[in-house]
Each structure stands twice: as structure tokens, then as C-alpha cells.
């Protein structure tokens, strides 16, 4: 992307004042406003407070990525979709930061957030985390392990896993909880 010529705008403009929104626009705007707050909360939950500028950028990124898919007529669907994208925006940010190894400099202020060891955890290479998680996965019963793998790595839906293994969806969900509990407990010990 090259924008060789950059023109300065004078004062920032407040478009909402000119009132020439079309019908769809008004609806779209309302939807955006409705989603903006919970989306900001989604990122604040992960970043901690005091990072409002970055939170705003992340919300903007979600809007950019969802714009062409967002079906505003189906609010429930739109909401779920937007949050799926928010999750991937978060993961991408995480990856980018890890690549730059800049995480500990920018992201958290231990004094303010009172979680000094969060930085330590964050510094762990994602690969190390995966290695530890894989080890933990190995001592699960085969079926539980397989369910976790099918769901989390192979990307099957809960009902697809259930159909494949002849289980109820709630049984699959219970296996998932058991697997993740075990992995988290084990990797915690390892850390």
C-alpha cells in the first residue's frame, strides 16, 4: 500500500452531524455502536485497562475484517460472527507481537495490574507452550485426547465429533472440559 501523497485535513469532521444517512446506514451504524462496547470489553479483558488506544485499534480491525460478511439483518448471527473474528484478531496480534518479541515492553505494566508473573508467562515462546501442552495431552485417555484433537486441531464442530464417535454432544463437551482442565493444570506445574 502506497499513499505517496498525503493531504492534511483541517479539523476532524463529525459526520454524524450532517444527518444524511440512508436507511441501511442508520441500521449499520446502530449495529456498530451496539457491538463496539462489548468488543472493547473483549479486548480489555485480555489487555487490561489503560490500553484504550490499542483497544480502539483492535475494535477497528474487527470492523474492517467483518465488514463484507456482516449481515445486519440477523443480529444474533452478526454478533457471534463478530466475536469469532475478534478472537482471531486477538490471536494475530499475539503472534505479531511474539514475532517482534516486543510483548514485555508494551503490553503490560506489572505495577499497575498487579500481575507481575503475567509477563513471565507471556514471554514463553508459543512453541514451548505447545510442547508442554502436547506432553500433557499424552497422558489423557485415548478417547478424551482424540476428542480434544478433533475439536481443537482438526476443527470439527462438537456435533461432528459426536456423530463420528457415536456420543452425545454433551459427552463430547465433558471430554473437552476434562482435557483442557488437565492440560492447564499440567502446564501450570511445568511453568
Amino acid at each position: 500500500m502506497l499513499l505517496a501523497h498525503e493531504q492534511r485535513m483541517g479539523e476532524p469532521v463529525d459526520v454524524s452531524a450532517d444527518g444524511e444517512n440512508r436507511h441501511a446506514s442508520a441500521r449499520g451504524g446502530a449495529m456498530a455502536a451496539l457491538l463496539a462496547k462489548p468488543l472493547a470489553a473483549f479486548f480489555r479483558r485480555r489487555l487490561g485497562p489503560g490500553n484504550e488506544a490499542e483497544i480502539e485499534d483492535l475494535v477497528q480491525d474487527v470492523f474492517l475484517r467483518t465488514a463484507d460478511q456482516l449481515n445486519l439483518a440477523e443480529e444474533e448471527h452478526a454478533r457471534a460472527y463478530v466475536f469469532r473474528v475478534a478472537a482471531s484478531v486477538w490471536i494475530d496480534r499475539h503472534r505479531r507481537r511474539q514475532a517482534r518479541q516486543a510483548d514485555q515492553h508494551v503490553s503490560f505494566d506489572p505495577d499497575r495490574h498487579d500481575t507481575a508473573d503475567r509477563d513471565l508467562v507471556r514471554q514463553l515462546d508459543a512453541r514451548e507452550t505447545l510442547r508442554a501442552a502436547t506432553l500433557a495431552l499424552a497422558d489423557l485417555p485415548e478417547r478424551t485426547r482424540a476428542i480434544f484433537i478433533l475439536r481443537r486441531i482438526e476443527g470439527l464442530a462438537v456435533r461432528e465429533v459426536a456423530a463420528r464417535l457415536g456420543l452425545s454432544t454433551s459427552a463430547v463437551e465433558k471430554h473437552m472440559v476434562r482435557a483442557l482442565e488437565h492440560i492447564l493444570t499440567q502446564t501450570r506445574a511445568w511453568r
Binding site: 459526520v15 446506514s25 480502539e56 465488514a67 460478511q69 472440559v177 492447564l184
Partner: protein, 342 residues
């Protein structure tokens, strides 16, 4: 889904509770989000455990490159209902597989019945590639020598790529999946951008954005993530990291503007993409733009704009993105900011 809540968290370790919350909380649901926040605020150890859980969960994104997972993954994929090998078990496995595949295989069956196609269009690109405006608002670029055969019905939008190469930017329609038939595979999408090349040698499907599911008759469906390519060559199917640059080389992907107003620029950019950029502020419309741009990805273009200009992009109806001056955009995610009081 939204009425479901994680079970009682009392008596669980932070890790156990975090596992449940991660798997069972729908953060899009305000009630569930509030409950999660309450738990996180209760104890720094809770927040820590939950953030760790997020990291662990995310770490599996790199599973493809982690060899120690290869064997457990193969075994997991081979696992079917019942482990003993009595004959009815095989049948059960088939039923299970059929259930798992039912959704995606339906189009095959429908294709052989009399299709109630509302609309049929055949496109051919004889000498050179063509930019196509499909009837549903989707965009396609058809490579030179290619042929694309559309059959749009009430339940499905089907496009058959008889031969050649095509790029698709699909308009979202949750009730009518867009299905591309190429090289003996079905590629099912809701709304996304991807590239398909099909010839006598094989097939390649490259996903640029969104998600698609590729199904061979009788095979397991393969779900592609953005940046992945499914390649069929000499009867073998492989999923690998896509060479996106190579995917774009064949089609016209650049336009050049020399000191043009943004309003003109977006008209040109909008020709190539489902996502339409709109402006209703004369000052935004008058911004002068110079440079070379990649077409077909308006979200990316908008992302570049908001980095360089005092602009924000705001969803504005289905597949519409409005470019607004920065002050009104600011109110979007800082509810306490001055812009919030309208």
C-alpha cells in the same frame, strides 16, 4: 447457546474454572460476559489462569508444524464409534461418517436431481481474463480460456468451473451457500475470497479470507484456513501453506491513481470487491489519493486509509463500510469519549 451458562465454579481450582469458562462462555452474550468479568475480577489468580488458558488454547494453532502431534492426530482421525471390529461397527462408523458429512454432501445429491435452478448464466473468457459481476453481488475474475457455469437456486448458488482458473469474492448469504464445483471437488462457502485452478493435472484451491470447506465424494471434508491451499495432483491431496503472491500473479490486481479524489478512487475499487466503500462526508470524499493499490480487498485498502488519514471505517449495512472523519469514529470504542453523546 446464549442461555447456557458454565456450571458452578465453586470448589474448582483456577485452572479448572478457566477451562470451563474458556470452553463454555460465549463472550458475545452480555450476561455470560458479565459473569466472566465478575470471576476474573474476583482474584488476580483467576485472571492469570484465564490468560494462561487463552495462551495454551491459542498455541494449538501451530499444531501443523509440531511433529510430536502427528501420530496422535492420525490416531484421532482414525477413531470411529466403537473400537471393536464386529461388522455392525463398521456400519455404525459409516453412519457416523455420513452424519458428519451429511450437510456438505447434500449438494452432490441435489445436483443429480432435477435442479430447480432459478437462474443460469454461462461465462466464458476467450482471449483474456474477465471481471464478472455475478447476479448475487459476488465478484469473480475468470482467467483467459476459462468457463464458468452458474446455476443459482433458492437454496444454493452453484458455480461450475469446467476448466481454467477463477478468483471469487463471494457475497455473504447465510441461507444460500455458494458452492464451486471444480476438479471433482465441491468447495462450499458462505462468504469469502478464494482462488481455484482446475486442469487435467489436478486442482488447487487457495483461501485468501474467510473459510471454505472442500469435499470429495466419499472423502472427509477439508476445512481451509486463510493462507492455506488444498492441492490435488496425481491423485494425492495435500493441504499446505499457500503462496499468495503466486495466487494473485495471474490476475489484474493493481490500479494506479494519480492525485484523484477519494470519491473517484472508491468507485474504481468497488468494481472489484463485494465489500463496498461509501462516503457521505464531502471532506472525506475530497481527500486526494496517489499511489498503486491492490484491488479486490477493500478491507485491506480501508485499513491502509485509516492508518494514513484521520479516518475510521464503520460497518454500514451488509457489505458496506463507511469512511468517516475520525471524531465520530472515535466514539465507537471509547464509550466515555465526547463522541458518545449524540
Amino acid at each position: 447457546m446464549s442461555d447456557r451458562m458454565p456450571g458452578d465454579l465453586d470448589g474448582l481450582t483456577p485452572e479448572q474454572a478457566a477451562a470451563r469458562l474458556l470452553l463454555e462462555t460465549d463472550e458475545a452474550d452480555p450476561v455470560q460476559a458479565a459473569r466472566l468479568d465478575a470471576w476474573l475480577d474476583q482474584d488476580p489468580a483467576h485472571r492469570q489462569a484465564w490468560l494462561d488458558a487463552q495462551d495454551v488454547w491459542a498455541s494449538f494453532d501451530a499444531a501443523d508444524a509440531h511433529r510430536p502431534l502427528d501420530l496422535p492426530r492420525r490416531r484421532a482421525r482414525a477413531l470411529r464409534a466403537g473400537r471393536s471390529s464386529v461388522p455392525w461397527m463398521a456400519a455404525a462408523a459409516c453412519v457416523a461418517a455420513a452424519l458428519a458429512l451429511g450437510l456438505v454432501l447434500t449438494p452432490w445429491r441435489r445436483a443429480t436431481e432435477a435442479p430447480a435452478a432459478v437462474q443460469r448464466v454461462v461465462y466464458e473468457a476467450a482471449g483474456q481474463q474477465r471481471l464478472l459481476d455475478l447476479p448475487d453481488g459476488s465478484k469473480a475474475v475468470l482467467g483467459a480460456g476459462g468457463a464458468l457455469d452458474l446455476a443459482y437456486g433458492g437454496n444454493e448458488r452453484r458455480a461450475r468451473l469446467a476448466h481454467g482458473r477463477a478468483y471469487f469474492d463471494v457475497a455473504h448469504d447465510g441461507s444460500r451457500p455458494f458452492v464451486v464445483e471444480a476438479g471433482g471437488r465441491l468447495i462450499t462457502v458462505l462468504g469469502t475470497r478464494f482462488d481455484v485452478a482446475s486442469d487435467a493435472e489436478g486442482l488447487s484451491v487457495t483461501l485468501l479470507e474467510g473459510s471454505v470447506r472442500v469435499t470429495a465424494s466419499g472423502g472427509d471434508p477439508v476445512v481451509l484456513r486463510p493462507g492455506q491451499a488444498l492441492v490435488v495432483a496425481q491423485g494425492r491431496t495435500q493441504v499446505r501453506q499457500a503462496d499468495e503472491a503466486a495466487t494473485e500473479r495471474w490476475r489484474e490486481t493493481r490500479v494506479v491513481f494519480d492525485d484523484k479524489p477519494l470519491s473517484e478512487v472508491i468507485v474504481e475499487m468497488n468494481r472489484y470487491a463485494v465489500l463496498q466503500l461509501v462516503i457521505d462526508d464531502p471532506q472525506v470524499a475530497a481527500l486526494r489519493i496517489t499511489g498503486q493499490f491492490r484491488v479486490g480487498d477493500n478491507a485491506r485498502f480501508a485499513r491502509g486509509l485509516v492508518r494514513l488519514y484521520p479516518l475510521r471505517a464503520v460497518p454500514d449495512g451488509p457489505a458496506r463500510l463507511k469512511l468517516v472523519g475520525v471524531r465520530s469514529g472515535r466514539s465507537l470504542s471509547s464509550p466515555d469519549g465526547p463522541g458518545a453523546k449524540r
